[in-house]
């Protein structure tokens, strides 16, 4: 069910947020697919959810909290082993944005 809600520009925007490089063919395909998914989601709107509490979690747990006790993992080297590149125990990554972007 097509809705024509999703434009190629939106696909491009979402892809840029996710740092994905898409080809023109990808863009076209994803626009079509996402539009269909939106069509499917639209069918959910047919259900009357007045007075239904939103579901935040699928377990029955409430206030499942851990006591504030520090447990060092002591496995820095093992963790770093899975990083593509490291230097002096730091993860080395391509500088994707300029320094002014830092939060």
């Amino acid at each position: 069910m097509a809705t024509d809600k999703i434009t190629p520009e939106e696909v491009e925007h979402v892809a840029s947020l996710a740092k994905l490089a898409l080809t023109e063919a990808d863009k076209e395909a994803f626009t079509r697919q996402l539009d269909k998914i939106f069509g499917l989601v639209d069918t959910l709107d047919e259900v009357d959810t007045t007075n239904v509490k939103p579901t935040y979690t699928v377990t029955d747990l409430t206030t499942a909290l851990r006591d504030d006790v520090a447990v060092p993992a002591n496995e820095t080297q093992k963790l770093l082993a899975n990083a593509p590149e490291t230097q002096e125990n730091l993860i080395k990554v391509p500088a994707i944005l300029n320094a002014e972007e830092e939060n």
């Binding site: 979690t57 909290l65 520090a70 447990v71 820095t76």
Partner: protein
């Protein structure tokens, strides 16, 4: 129309790192200054299949902040995901409280030029911090995930501030309030307190707010004030030139004192917030709030009042002692060990502060303990040592030595025994006939010329009060 025809609206968003033992969502230690990636585990790295484990301590710290800021704690809250890609955020989302903040509707009292004002706190979120990125010059960045997952509380202030000075006062008051709850060190220089500012101006009388600008990279309270002052002027000039202001994020440049436009960032929609399915909702009932409230330390304002009204300190001393929680706690402990409050206050404000400054140390990192300071003060008050001798004893107690023992070992006790002092005094009188005659002739001042040689004879160890009494007795005896 001039710049003075505008009114300013400022709202501050402050992030504060919570000094918990472990991280918000993992049991990794929270510790400033550890080796890179030392305090990380698979949860912090966002490894596939891991589940977050929310920290009770972070929630309780958030409740403490809420209570200290008179905010209403939300009884039923859940976590949400804020999605964004950045290398310091390996999960590609931050766990926060977008839809049900831990607390709402608080306030903070500020004072500017003697005018008191209540500033609203809109809401507060407990969330997790990101890791730290260091940008290299070679096209690479270096990521340390030690900070990743450190609990934060974000305190969103209402747009109630009308000047950069009020913003400054708000930050000082907020820092003090939070520091005295004990949940954070609130140090801008270590990043445990971070400030973003929203500012807009509008012609006086206008009902609508102007277009707001967000300021970032404000690394001290002073830079906040300067950045806001610059922005007030810049916006007013733009208005007067007939320009339309755009909603944007600007960075404060410390070297020029100006604000610079940053690239347009993601908008709220782009963060694609949604409820965090990996964590259970949290219910906060009144008994839990009461338990946390009981753990809340006495706030700075109450302490100042107590110091003045119960301990007899003056207002200035009370202000200085409550500049840090560590200092105030040390003072209270010293008084509890039996020290005279005024003398304890003088030592902390004088010698102790000078020692801390000279050694670039925080009070809690020194070997000085309240009991030793109190014992030294008692030795002074009991005339066992003079304040001059106390200088030497003070050095010893800053090195962790026990003052009573130190005085014993170094033979520092003041000489107060008349059997020893009187013969010395008589000898000085014999050698200073002229001064004795002057005194007997009615010149009280003549004693000054006599006390010097007596003190010298005792190598400065004599108790000045005892010497004075004995000297007068000896002089009268020669009448």
């Amino acid at each position: 129309m001039a710049i003075s025809n505008f009114e300013t609206t400022i709202g501050l968003e402050v992030h504060i790192e919570l000094k918990t033992n472990s991280k918000a969502m993992s049991p990794s230690p929270v510790e400033y200054g550890a080796a890179p990636n030392q305090n990380t585990n698979v949860i912090d790295w966002g490894y596939p299949g891991v589940l977050p484990q929310a920290n009770r301590g972070a929630i309780e710290a958030g409740m403490m902040a809420a209570l200290a800021l008179h905010a209403d704690i939300t009884p039923d809250l859940h976590w949400d995901r804020k999605n964004y890609f950045y290398p310091d955020n390996p999960k590609a989302y931050q766990i926060t409280q977008q839809f049900e903040p831990i607390a709402k509707d608080g306030w903070l009292e500020i004072e500017v030029d003697g005018q008191k004002k209540r500033v609203g706190i809109t809401e507060m979120h407990v969330e997790e911090d990101a890791g730290k990125n260091t940008h290299g010059t070679n096209g690479y960045s270096y990521v340390d995930l030690n900070r990743q997952g450190t609990p934060l509380i974000e305190i969103v202030g209402a747009p109630d501030l009308t000047s950069p000075d009020e913003a400054y006062a708000y930050l000082e008051a907020l820092k003090e309030t939070i520091q005295f709850t004990g949940i954070s060190d609130v140090k801008m220089e270590e990043g445990s307190m971070r400030v973003d500012a929203n500012i807009s101006i509008r012609p006086i009388g206008s009902k609508q707010y102007g277009t707001k600008v967000e300021l970032k990279n404000l690394n001290s309270f002073n830079y906040v004030r300067k950045g806001l002052l610059f922005e007030e002027q810049r916006q007013a000039k733009a208005y007067l030139a007939g320009e339309t202001l755009k909603q944007q994020t600007r960075r404060y440049d410390e070297t020029t004192g100006e604000t610079i436009l940053m690239r347009v960032k993601e908008t709220a929609d782009d963060y694609r917030y949604f409820p965090e399915p990996d964590l259970a909702p949290i219910h906060i009932d009144q008994p839990w709030i009461n338990t946390v409230a009981q753990k809340l330390p006495e706030d700075a304002k109450t302490r100042r009042q107590r110091y003045v009204e119960e301990l007899g300190l003056d207002t200035y001393d009370a202000e200085v002692l409550t500049q840090t929680l560590a200092m105030a706690n040390f003072f209270d402990a010293t008084v509890a060990e039996g020290a005279n409050p005024k003398r304890a206050s003088n030592y902390l404000m004088g010698d102790v502060n000078a020692f801390l400054n000279a050694n670039h140390q925080d009070l809690e990192d020194t070997k000085l303990i309240p009991k030793h300071l109190a014992d030294m003060i008692k030795l002074i008050d009991e005339d066992v040592i003079s304040t001059k001798m106390a200088k030497q004893v003070f050095k010893a107690i800053t090195d962790g030595q026990e003052p009573v023992q130190y005085v014993e070992d170094h033979n520092l006790k003041q000489l107060s025994d008349p059997a020893i002092l009187l013969p010395m005094i008589e000898e000085v009188l014999d050698n200073n006939e002229q001064s004795v005659q002057d005194f007997l002739g009615g010149k009280e001042r003549a004693t000054k010329a006599l006390i010097g040689p007596i003190m010298k004879a005792t190598r400065g160890n004599a108790n000045p009060n005892v010497v004075n009494d004995l000297l007068h007795q000896a002089l009268e005896a020669r009448r």
